[in-house]
Structure formats: structure tokens, C-alpha cells
């Protein structure tokens, strides 16, 4: 960090506040057996030799887990791409598990073999997130490029549901599965019961860090996305409180008012926990602030975890925020972040039009409700 003093630049701290790598993500691979049209991270086919050659070995992942545990990581997410695509997934999983983390596994559930189940029964994740993108083979063909995967996903999810892990389903709605959204929720309820949550990705940015999906051509328009999220939210509230719920008398309540935020400034690198409490180790051995942004990184294989974590802030250079976002009246409800700005504009200080339109759509809804 710069040695600038308070006298010269009163708004700059003289030292970095305490950081601790409590929440980690291990991205085992950016390969996937499915070719989802909105995937942020998938690089290429499952058999890309160049990518396979550069992926960390099982031994390296297990060593990384040991270093992360020593450094204080408590929660660890194992993700991809599709982590089970790795033939050494079971070896990696067991080696990481033994270090002792609150461990979450993200998977598309289409590659759940007997061997994987034996490993996960012995070393069950604390949480599992299963992605589900359709309620039929036809939708899976349109979204993921593989209609046969639908049945395998259901069977895989059924097997994972036998584990003592807390399991939830995760979906992303694009043009190709928009009409199937209600059916996805009904399918989960029918197959797994009402206790299983279906989490919907709120905003889909363009693919990041070399991902190959043409997200822009398939994601919903921001206004459609907001409408979908809003009506889903209302429906879920109505399920909880019944028909007496009055949609017209909605009130928007800040969890933390803008005034409170100003009184309690949050010191961070990017305005979030990235690089302060959370990090990602990428498939090729880089320590990132988060899986979404590869602009700032440290070579964790060369330096070791502790040194890479320590040095990460020194490598961060953020440009000035663009004027439009800096003075926007709706900035307090905007879902923007450095990563989404970078994904959409190529500039971590840029104004992402897609997210901006989303925020304006939300603001219109809230203002309409306030007028009523």
C-alpha cells in the first residue's frame, strides 16, 4: 500500500485494514460437459488438452487447501466449470475435506457416479448447490446443448439428496428457458419436496476471464429480468402469507439507509469482501479477489498462499469511477460492482449499460409503488 500520509491525501488510509481469507473458492476447472449458453466461466470443451495441461494437479489442490487452512480459511466452495469432470475429483475432494472446512460443492449433477457417491457419503459437503436449467430434455437441449443431460441431472440430484448435506437448486433464466421457469420450480417441488429452494441468478453479466459463451445473445433484456424477479418474489411472499398480501402497498425499506452507510464507511478494495475476506484460486493457479474478475491476481503457485494473499492489495489499481455512476440517484439500489463493470465494459470503472437498465427498471417499480 502507498505510504501517503493523512496530511497529503486525507481520504487515503496509511495502512491496509486487517484482512483474513475466511471464505475461499477453489475453481477446479473451467471445462464443463454441458455447453450452457449463459455460462460465465466455461472456456471450452471438456477435452481441451491445453486447458487440462495447465490445470492444477490433485496434489497441488490438496496442498493449496492445507495452506488456505493454515491461513485461516473457514468456508470453502468447490466449483468449476464442472468439478466432477475431473477424473481425480474424488482424490481432490477427500484431500481437501480432511483439512476441515465448511465445504460447499457446486455441480450440474450430471456426472454423479457410484465412485463419486462413495466419496461424498464418506465426506459429505455441508452444502450442495445443484444447477438446473430446465424441466424437460427439450429445454436442456436449447439451454445446455444436451437434451440427454436432463435425465442424468435428475438422477444425479436424487442421489445427492440422499446425503446429509443442505442442498439447494440454482437456476439462471435466459430466453431459451424463460417459458419453463415455473415448470422448473414445480419439478423441484414434485421430485424433492417443498423444502428445497430454487435460487435464481439475479443478473447475468457477459462471460468473464476468457469464457466462451455468447451470453449477450441469450440473456433476457434487463426489464424482462426485473419483471421476472419481482413477480417471483411477490409469488413467494404470497405463498408465505396467503392471499391477504396486498401488492399495492409494498414499501421499499433499506436494510441500511444511505445516511447510515455514510456514517459507517466500509473499507475495502472493491466495495465488497473480495480480497478482504474472500478469494478465489483459479483453475490455473492464480489468486483472485473473486471468480468474476481476473484483472488483478497473484501467482499462488509461485508465491504460496500466504504471500499471495498478503501481496494481493498491492497489485490492485482501480481507475476513477465514471461520472454517471458516481452521481446516479439510484446508486444505492444498484447491483453494480467492479466485476460486473469490467465484465460488461472492459473497464472496472465503466458504466455497464445492462446493469444500469436493470437498476432503472427496479427504481421505476419502487417509485410506482411509493406513488400508490
Amino acid at each position: 500500500m502507498s505510504a501517503l500520509t493523512g496530511k497529503e491525501h486525507p481520504a487515503i488510509l496509511s495502512e491496509m485494514p486487517q484482512r483474513c481469507p475466511v471464505d475461499g473458492t477453489f475453481e477446479l476447472t473451467v471445462r464443463c460437459n454441458l455447453h450452457c449458453k449463459m455460462c460465465l466461466f466455461r472456456h471450452d470443451d471438456s477435452e481441451n488438452e491445453e486447458i487440462i495441461r495447465r490445470e492444477l494437479s490433485a496434489e497441488q489442490w490438496i496442498d493449496m487447501a492445507e495452506q488456505a487452512a493454515d491461513a485461516g480459511t473457514l468456508s470453502l466452495l468447490i466449483t468449476g466449470g464442472e468439478p466432477m469432470l475431473r477424473p481425480d475429483f474424488c482424490e481432490i475432494w477427500e484431500g481437501i475435506y480432511r483439512q476441515g472446512f465448511l465445504i460447499t460443492l457446486y455441480t450440474n449433477a450430471s456426472l454423479v457416479t457410484d465412485r463419486v457417491m462413495r466419496t461424498l457419503k464418506k465426506y459429505p459437503p455441508h452444502r450442495i448447490g445443484v444447477t438446473i436449467y430446465g424441466a424437460s430434455p427439450e429445454t436442456y437441449r436449447k439451454v445446455c446443448g444436451n437434451g440427454d443431460a436432463f435425465q442424468r441431472v435428475l438422477e444425479g440430484a436424487r442421489r445427492l439428496a440422499e446425503l446429509p448435506s443442505a442442498m439447494e437448486f440454482r437456476t439462471t433464466i435466459i430466453r431459451e428457458n424463460y417459458s419453463d421457469f415455473d415448470n422448473i420450480c414445480k419439478l423441484v417441488e414434485k421430485e424433492f419436496g417443498i423444502g428445497y429452494n430454487v435460487v435464481q441468478t439475479r443478473i447475468i453479466t457477459q462471460s468473464v476471464r476468457g469464457g466462451c459463451a455468447d451470453v449477450r445473445s441469450h440473456r433476457l433484456a434487463p426489464e424482462e429480468n426485473v419483471k421476472l424477479a419481482f413477480h417471483r418474489g411477490i409469488r413467494r411472499i404470497r405463498e408465505q402469507v396467503g392471499e391477504s398480501f396486498d401488492e399495492k402497498n409494498l414499501r421499499a425499506v433499506y436494510q441500511e439507509s444511505p445516511q447510515e452507510k455514510a456514517r459507517n464507511p466500509r473499507v475495502s478494495l472493491f466495495g465488497c469482501d473480495a480480497g478482504m475476506q474472500s478469494y478465489t484460486i483459479s483453475w490455473d493457479g492464480q489468486l483472485l479477489g473473486c471468480q468474476m474478475m481476473g484483472l488483478f491476481s497473484q501467482d499462488v503457485l509461485a508465491k504460496g498462499f500466504s504471500e499471495a494473499w498478503r501481496d494481493f492489495p498491492a497489485g490492485v489499481r482501480l481507475p476513477k469511477m465514471n461520472e454517471k455512476c458516481g452521481t446516479c440517484e439510484d446508486r444505492n439500489i444498484c447491483n453494480c460492482c467492479c466485476a460486473s463493470r469490467y465484465a460488461e465494459t472492459g473497464d472496472p470503472g465503466g458504466c455497464p449499460e445492462y446493469v444500469c437498465r436493470d437498476t432503472k427498471a427496479v427504481a421505476r417499480l419502487l417509485r410506482r409503488e411509493r406513488k400508490q
Binding site: 483474513c20 476441515g100 465448511l102 455441508h126
Partner: protein, 114 residues
């Protein structure tokens, strides 16, 4: 998932002096941001899916429980390491053991089973 700080609630009746206690391997100890935690692992997450924060003296006893030991040995650990009076050490060790037994965290054996 949630964290849980153990509350030492002693019951009225005393435990059997001839019993030994040994921790089960369904928790892993970690130090996170200066705090000592026990993380539930394996099949135990069906009973408890989360982690427990423990203090320094609890960690001391937990480490002692890696091999079978009696209630008296645990009390002696507290006396030797923290200078607690004997009676207080016995009470603290007893209530700590009760917490562990109630939550299925230890194997209890009677002397004749040793």
C-alpha cells in the same frame, strides 16, 4: 449453517468416576481469525451442520480427550494449566463433559470395558 457457543449447564447428579471419555473424530479443530472452532464433518453433519466456537480452556480439554481420560484427569488439566481450585475445576470439567455427551461428541466407556 450456524455457529454455536457451548453453554456449560451442569446437571445435579454426578457422573460415574470410573468412566473414561474420548472425543469422537466427527469434529475437526481449526483456528480461524484468532478463534478456535470445531467443525462438524462426515456423517455428523446430519446431526449438526455447522461449527462450534470454543474458548482456550475448552480447547485444552478437547485436546486432552484425544485419548481416553477420566473426569479427574480433565479436572487436573484445568488445575495445572489455569490454576483453578480443585472443586471449581471438577465442576467445570463435569459440565464440559455433559455438554459433549449430550451432543454426541465423546465416546464414554466404563472402567471394566477398558
Amino acid at each position: 449453517m450456524h455457529s454455536r457457543v457451548p453453554v456449560f449447564l451442569g446437571k445435579r447428579e454426578k457422573m460415574n468416576h470410573t468412566e473414561t471419555f474420548q472425543r469422537k473424530e466427527n469434529y475437526i479443530h481449526r483456528t480461524v481469525a484468532g478463534q478456535e472452532v470445531l467443525i462438524s464433518i462426515g456423517g455428523n453433519i446430519a446431526n449438526f451442520n455447522g461449527y462450534i466456537r470454543i474458548n482456550e480452556s475448552a480447547l485444552c480439554l478437547w485436546e486432552k480427550l484425544s485419548s481416553p481420560c477420566t473426569r479427574e484427569e480433565l479436572a487436573r488439566t484445568l488445575t495445572e494449566n489455569y490454576g483453578l481450585p480443585e472443586k471449581e475445576a471438577e465442576e467445570d470439567a463435569e459440565s464440559f463433559l455433559r455438554e459433549l455427551v449430550e451432543n454426541g461428541m465423546v465416546i464414554v466407556k466404563r472402567e471394566e470395558e477398558r
